[in-house]
């Protein structure tokens, strides 16, 4: 079978120099006939294959991508393929979230002596891609607008935190303040209905600290900026996971950060709150009930029950209390039940691949590429050197097309694999409300499934799954070539 009967399709192969490229050579020496579609890019090691190369190829018109390396244990660099196996497997799971059929991507192991196996792999993969046909694009996918359903019931009673021991906390902060450059918390923002970060340096600053459902922002994002200085931070449970993740990644030193924690009763989804408040001139006041807050604007009262207006993530939250803290006050809330599938993810799950491509095209069109999602993300530590706007490396162009925008979301999601705590700041920060959190949730779920229910930001001493490997992976099986 020299060439597939139909027109050649674009298949890109990334082969490690030591085993698979040699295996392809061996196949050639043995005159093992193969379909001609494949174009091979030689890389030193399968561990060199950044999953982003694969996404880049698939988004740029490749119909299939094949990665092949040395068999596990046989890596010329001893462990490169172990890392590759994890990263590529995560990618394999992730591609469908974008609407890309993951049958278009495969990775395998072929040694330098396995010419016959290489022939079999190329033939089977090419046949598979021909069965799938040319890859559909994003730019011309039919429009499809969909929104997530309401969130399920929370795992704990949500409230406004009005009875939290805020004053005792302020006292505790004041005691520690002399040793700290500042303590990061929340204070009232441009009106009563909005908060803004507080950087308390003097005791009187501490009096401005507020606690309650308006404290949506995850302040952990500021910690790396204070690298080398001693700072305090007030955290909700979810924020504490970001702090743990930063500690795990050496971006903050444990001795430099003092963590103040109160049990969180949930935060408001300000997008929906603002939508309900509509256009108003002034906030006349805000009243905290046990499970609701009332905001008066231009004389009109608006009631927001936590059950209805809490952020989606708060409903599935299993860590209302900080997972790590130095000063902790208040009673531990009771969490019951298992975290449900988050709404944004459920929305993705409910769609087929075609629908997902349409969905993302529809959503991504309005992306401004402001990258607020990135800058609000506590785990986006590259900051000023993000590869999305560099020329060396030159991953992306400034073009405003859907694929560029979606590729950025993929970069963010893949870079967050095993690191994202699901804090949702990316989506919260998006000025045009694109439900990008679903992609991060998708990858977090994959990481959990593949790596023994691993959740980021729980254990500061854990090895992040994609920075480690097992010689025998428990949940990754090589797929057979038949």
């Amino acid at each position: 079978m020299p060439v597939m009967k139909d027109k050649e399709l674009r298949i890109v192969g990334f082969l490690c120099n030591w085993c698979s490229y040699g295996g392809a050579d061996t196949a050639g020496v043995a005159r093992a006939e193969q379909p001609t579609d494949l174009r091979i890019i030689r890389v030193p090691c399968s561990g060199r294959v950044d999953p982003l190369f694969i996404v880049k190829a698939l988004l740029s018109g490749a119909d299939g991508v094949l990665v092949s390396g040395c068999h596990p244990r046989d890596c010329h660099y001893s462990s490169g393929n172990f890392y590759a196996r994890r990263r590529l497997e995560v990618l394999k799971h992730f591609l469908p979230a974008l609407g890309i059929d993951n049958a278009r991507f495969e990775y395998t192991w072929v040694s330098a002596s396995e010419g016959q196996r290489w022939q079999q792999v190329v033939t089977a993969f090419t046949r598979r891609i021909h069965t799938l046909g040319a890859a559909p694009g994003f730019e011309d996918a039919p429009l499809l607008m969909k929104t997530a359903d309401m969130a399920p019931a929370p795992l704990r009673p949500l409230g406004t935190g009005k009875n939290a021991p805020l004053e005792s906390l302020k006292q505790a902060i004041k005691e520690k303040l002399p040793d700290l450059a500042c303590v990061i918390g929340w204070k009232q923002g441009y009106d009563d209905a909005h908060t803004t970060p507080l950087f308390a340096k003097k005791p009187e600053d501490v009096d401005e600290l507020v606690w309650g459902p308006l404290n949506a922002a995850n302040l952990a994002v500021y910690l790396p900026l204070f690298k080398g200085k001693k700072v305090g931070i007030v955290v909700k449970g979810c924020d504490s996971r970001s702090v743990v993740e930063l500690l795990q990644e050496n971006l903050v030193a444990r001795e430099d950060v003092t963590i103040f924690a109160l049990p969180c009763e949930g935060t408001l989804d300000m997008g929906r709150v603002n939508e309900k408040l509509g256009r108003y001139n002034v906030v006349g006041g805000i009243a905290h009930g046990a499970t609701n807050i009332t905001i008066t604007t231009d004389g009109q009262e608006h009631d927001f029950s936590m059950a209805e207006y809490a952020q989606n993530k708060c409903r599935g939250c299993t860590e209302p209390e900080a997972v790590l803290s130095d000063v902790r006050m208040g009673d531990s809330p009771l969490v019951q039940g298992e975290a449900p599938v988050p709404q944004e993810l459920a929305l993705l799950d409910a769609m087929n691949l075609d629908e997902r491509r349409s969905f993302w095209r529809t959503q991504m069109e309005r992306c401004l590429r402001c990258y607020a999602c990135r800058n609000a993300c506590p785990m986006c530590v590259c900051r000023d050197y993000c590869i999305s706007d560099s020329r060396d490396p030159h991953w992306m162009t400034q073009e405003a097309g859907v694929t560029q925008k979606l590729f950025f979301q993929t970069i963010h999601a893949l870079h967050l694999a095993g690191r994202c705590t699901g804090c949702g700041e990316c989506q919260r920060a998006c000025p045009v409300g694109i439900p990008i959190l679903g992609l991060r949730q998708h990858i977090a779920r994959t990481v959990g499934e593949l790596f023994d229910n691993y959740r980021a930001g729980i254990d500061p001493a854990a090895v992040p799954p994609l920075l480690g490997y097992e010689v025998e992976e428990r949940n990754i099986r090589e797929r057979e070539w038949k």
Partner: protein
């Protein structure tokens, strides 16, 4: 003599449909999501007519998020491969465009953009072509809003600056008033009813809107005050601590006009190379990073100083008007609720105390 017309709510789609025969219509469209947004989009028949203030201003009509200025191709002489010919293709395109239902602040944005792009020593041909083909139909605001402050900076709920037509909602419909020749021409052929009879109602509505605004603080001294604070790094640091450097504020500012130019693609490729102009963001460290790697504004405080100063000090110095028109999007859209008004007022106060 301006043209005045009246349209019922039901009549608006027909009006737009008529306009769309000869022009592209950019009108607000709702994007439902957990966080709802309103975006200017190509309007075509069958779409609802939305009059809400958009999340993102219609700046894109004259200054696209990314535009291809020109493409370039190289081709080799078959007889001498070292002889390479370069061929440029200008891509300045300008379709007649009508912006429908932007707000006065948005429209004033075009006035702010016009100065550097058209009135300086060199007119920008790409901008110029688009601007010349643009007609702006503005809906006046019926009230103020908690984040708006147009009247601080010389605007107002029915400010006509930058608009070709002002449209004001009254009982039972809308009064459309042309403010420019282009607007007049448009209204004359728009097939709408005469509105002179109800024009008074529109004027009354505009007055009511004005009256609803809280009084504006005096910020006339802002240019000098901010200039005076140029070296006060502590002031800028205190006001920038919460900033994430995301620059979302600049992307949905109707008056931010900085851009970046990049080349993409290969000149030998079929598609050719593309010279792209795309929005840039002064809040990003990249904005001032030089090729050598040196960056005069590494701190976000200095970048914030630049943004505030540009809007309230340097631009006014050059052009005699604030380049902020008080739309308030940078406040309502900021992920951490930073308030530019507070910065300006604090700067005036700080300068006063310094002095």
């Amino acid at each position: 003599m301006s043209a005045i017309r009246f349209a019922t709510p039901d009549g608006l789609p027909a009006f737009l449909a008529r306009l769309s025969e000869n022009s592209r219509i950019l009108a607000p469209a709702v994007k439902p999501a957990g966080k709802r947004s309103v975006i200017f989009e190509d309007w075509h028949e069958g779409m609802p007519v939305i009059l809400e203030k958009a999340t993102v201003p219609p700046k894109d009509a004259v200054l696209p998020q990314c535009e291809t200025l020109f493409t370039y191709k190289k081709s080799k002489n078959p007889d001498n491969r070292e002889d390479v010919a370069l061929c440029l293709e200008n891509r300045a395109e300008a379709r007649p465009t009508v912006i429908f239902a932007c707000r006065p602040c948005d429209a004033r944005g075009f006035a702010v953009l016009d100065r550097p792009y058209l009135k300086g020593p060199f007119a920008d041909p790409y901008y110029k072509a688009k601007r010349a083909n643009l007609t702006v139909i503005t809906i006046t605001c019926a009230s103020g809003c908690n984040t708006c402050f147009c009247h601080w900076v010389g605007g107002g709920p029915s400010s006509p600056e930058g608009s070709d037509i002002l449209m004001t909602e009254i009982d039972g419909g809308f009064v459309l008033q042309s403010m420019t020749e282009a607007g007049e021409k448009l209204l004359e052929s728009a097939g709408l009813d005469d509105g002179r009879e109800v024009f008074a109602k529109a004027e009354a509505a505009r007055k009511t809107a004005w009256a609803s605004l809280a009084s504006a603080p005096a910020i006339k001294t802002a240019p000098q005050c901010i200039a005076a604070l140029f070296d006060n790094e502590q002031f800028w640091q205190e006001h920038t601590e919460a900033c994430l450097s995301c620059g979302a504020c600049t992307y949905f500012c109707p008056t931010c006009y900085c851009f970046n130019i990049t080349d993409e693609g290969d000149a030998f490729d079929e598609k050719g190379g593309r010279r792209l102009r795309s929005w840039d963001n002064c809040m990003s460290s990249l904005f001032t990073r030089e090729a050598s790697g040196h960056n005069p504004r590494t701190q976000k405080a200095l970048r914030m100083r630049n943004r505030i100063a540009h809007k309230f000090s340097t631009y006014p110095e050059n052009w005699g008007a604030f380049s902020c028109n008080g739309c308030g999007r940078c406040i309502s859209g900021c992920p951490v609720c930073l308030d530019i008004r507070a910065v300006v007022l604090n700067a005036i106060a700080a300068a006063a105390s310094e002095a």
